[in-house]
């Protein structure tokens, strides 16, 4: 008898498909509808820090260089007040096997899939993670399927995503190129059901633990060269895994005073599931369309409990405009002699703005770069935007309107970014939790979990409870 493949029927089989494809029984960690044992779920992956390092070295992951951006730091000091202008460091994650930090994330999932005897791995992503899984799967002798949202209904592909699809195929993966829509998840479920492959989701404990080595490497490298901990580490933020794993690694290394700063490209006003808006944004990830919803409700993803919980570790959230990132990307090439892709340059843009406000003896670390090339280059993105009717010009970046124009700064002083108030996001998160269980019925354990999940103490949570009743 054939199974019912309608959208509703497949979504209803979600939990059983996930359990079979991950081998994790998430119900074992549930303590109430809002609260679960996060640390035990992470520990149960069974890997020590040394295990993670050893597994990653087998497949060309980790030990990436940390560069001091001397010329860019000097340029920032020239426009800063006396005594201001922190040293900017860049962790060159493009040196990983597939050209981005995502190799760290994929390495542990693929190792686990192989160890458990799966024939292959599948993942749904339009980002660098697809190439990372394909590259790691190739090295572990696993088959690989990558599902990507690539085209609008006219068949026009986002150049950056087209390039990412090419890279997956280059590593021998079967690539599913899909049109715009949240049904990507439906397709992942049917693919997992058909193939019996391991679900190399971005959000499993394996994926997040793999990123911890990025945090420990940063702590060790900064200490060795500067005899101190970094004052701030800036992380390009979308789904929250990069921030979560890096922060856990820094904490594991004892760098507990380092500020963890999230940064996203501000795309407010564009709808992420809109066929029309899809090709009118010039960033495919690292933007507020993922960053904000994932921060305010991490458990919206393809696993029942998301191991990426960004608000648990975030101290600050900076937003930058598309034009500001393109300007700083160009400066990285002209002043520092390296070309890198958009993801790391998003946090580099925030670092430029922050370094200006920080003391001269302080250190700010941009914790990733990614590869660049045809499709993934800022010139490709701007040329594509122009062809889609977006106005591209030099000027004041505060005039940027996502989907309408891209205003590239005329001078470094105009690269300022802006702040996303965290307490507003914390309240949104709590309101989402209150949809599961009304706030007046939260237990002491629920409150302890929720306050830890937004990096606040229970007294703060008590103080905002009246606002949740509305």
């Amino acid at each position: 008898m054939s199974r019912d493949m309608s959208y509703a029927a497949v979504m209803a089989r979600k939990n059983e498909i996930m359990k079979a494809s991950l081998g994790i029984d998430f119900s074992a960690y549930e303590q109430s509808p809002v609260c679960f044992d996060y640390e035990r779920m992470m520990r149960d992956t069974g890997f020590s820090h040394e295990d993670l390092v050893r597994i990653q070295r087998e497949t060309k992951v980790g030990d990436t260089p940390l560069f001091e951006l001397r010329n860019l730091t000097e340029a920032v000091r020239k426009i800063s007040a006396p005594g201001k202008g922190a040293t900017i460091l860049l962790k060159d994650e493009a040196a990983n096997a597939s050209g981005s930090f995502k190799a760290r994330r994929a390495s542990i999932s693929c190792y686990e899939a192989k160890r458990r005897g799966f024939a292959g791995v599948a993942t749904a992503t339009s980002g660098n993670y697809g190439a990372a899984v394909a590259s790691q799967a190739a090295q572990r002798g696993l088959k690989c399927i990558v599902l990507q949202e690539v085209y609008d209904s006219r068949g026009v592909g986002q150049p950056e995503i087209v390039e990412k699809g090419r890279k997956c195929e280059a590593f021998g993966a079967e690539v599913h190129k899909l049109t715009v829509g949240p049904e990507l998840f439906y397709c992942l479920l049917t693919t997992l059901e058909e193939t019996g492959f391991f679900n190399a989701s971005l959000y499993t404990p394996f994926g997040i633990r793999g990123i911890e080595t990025l945090g420990t490497e940063i702590a060790a490298q900064v200490r060795a060269r500067y005899q101190r901990d970094p004052d701030a580490v800036i992380v390009t933020h979308a789904g929250g895994g990069n921030l979560t794993g890096t922060a856990r690694g820094l904490i594991d290394a004892g760098a507990s005073k380092t500020r963890i700063v999230a940064c996203s490209v501000d795309l407010s006003g564009l709808h992420m599931a809109s066929d029309h808006d899809f090709n009118r944004k010039s960033f495919t990830t690292g933007h507020t369309g993922f960053g904000v919803p994932f921060a305010t409700w991490p458990d919206r993803t393809d696993v029942p409990r998301n191991a990426a919980r960004s608000m648990r570790y975030m101290d600050e959230y900076r937003l930058v405009m598309q034009g500001e990132v393109f300007y700083v990307t160009e400066l990285l090439a002209k002043l520092e002699g390296i070309e890198r892709g958009p993801a790391g340059n998003t946090s580099l843009t925030a670092a430029v703005a922050m370094a200006r406000e920080m003391d001269r003896d302080q250190i700010v670390v941009v914790q990733e770069t990614e590869y660049t090339g045809a499709g993934k280059h800022h010139n490709s993105q701007l040329a594509f935007a122009r062809s889609m009717g977006i106005e591209v010009r030099r000027g004041d970046p505060r005039e940027n309107i996502p989907g309408k124009n891209i205003v590239i700064p005329e001078r470094l002083e105009q690269v300022r970014g802006h702040d996303q108030p965290l307490d507003k996001l914390r309240l949104s998160y709590l309101k989402n939790a209150a949809k599961l269980v009304p706030a007046d019925r939260w237990t002491a354990a629920d409150k302890a979990f929720l306050s830890a999940d937004v990096k606040k103490d229970p007294a703060w949570l008590e103080s905002v409870l009246p606002q949740l009743k509305a």
Binding site: Y7, N71, L72, A75, V76, K78, I79, K143, C144, I145, Y151, S153, G157, P159, V162, E163, R166, E169, G172, A173, E174, V175, H176, K177, L178, T179, V180, G181, P182, E183, Y186, C187, T195, H271, A273, S274, D275, H276, F326, Y327, E330, L331, A333, K334, L335, A374, G375, H377, H378, N379, S380, Q381, L382, A383, F384, R386, V392, R394, I408, L412
Partner: protein, 94 residues
Amino acid sequence: MNTIPAETWVEIEQVILTPAQRAPGIPDDTRATPYVRRISGFLTAPAAVGGDATIRTLIGRTLTGTLRVVNPSYSHSFGDTVPELLNIGLGGQA
């Protein structure tokens, strides 16, 4: 009609969900279109463009759909030069 020989590298297209079958709650402009998947592979038997075709993918799976493109290729580029970028950072000046 032109028949494409077996073992040719091609791209097929599948309509996964018609507009009526799509997920609830999606924007109207997206709902007006079918949800479509394209996959590349080697033709397992001769087929015509626009007709039914079966492919063997890079990982050896067999899939069927409508034959869309023969020898699908990547032509993405660095795009037309954007002059607004060229004078940023010249002479080491930010």
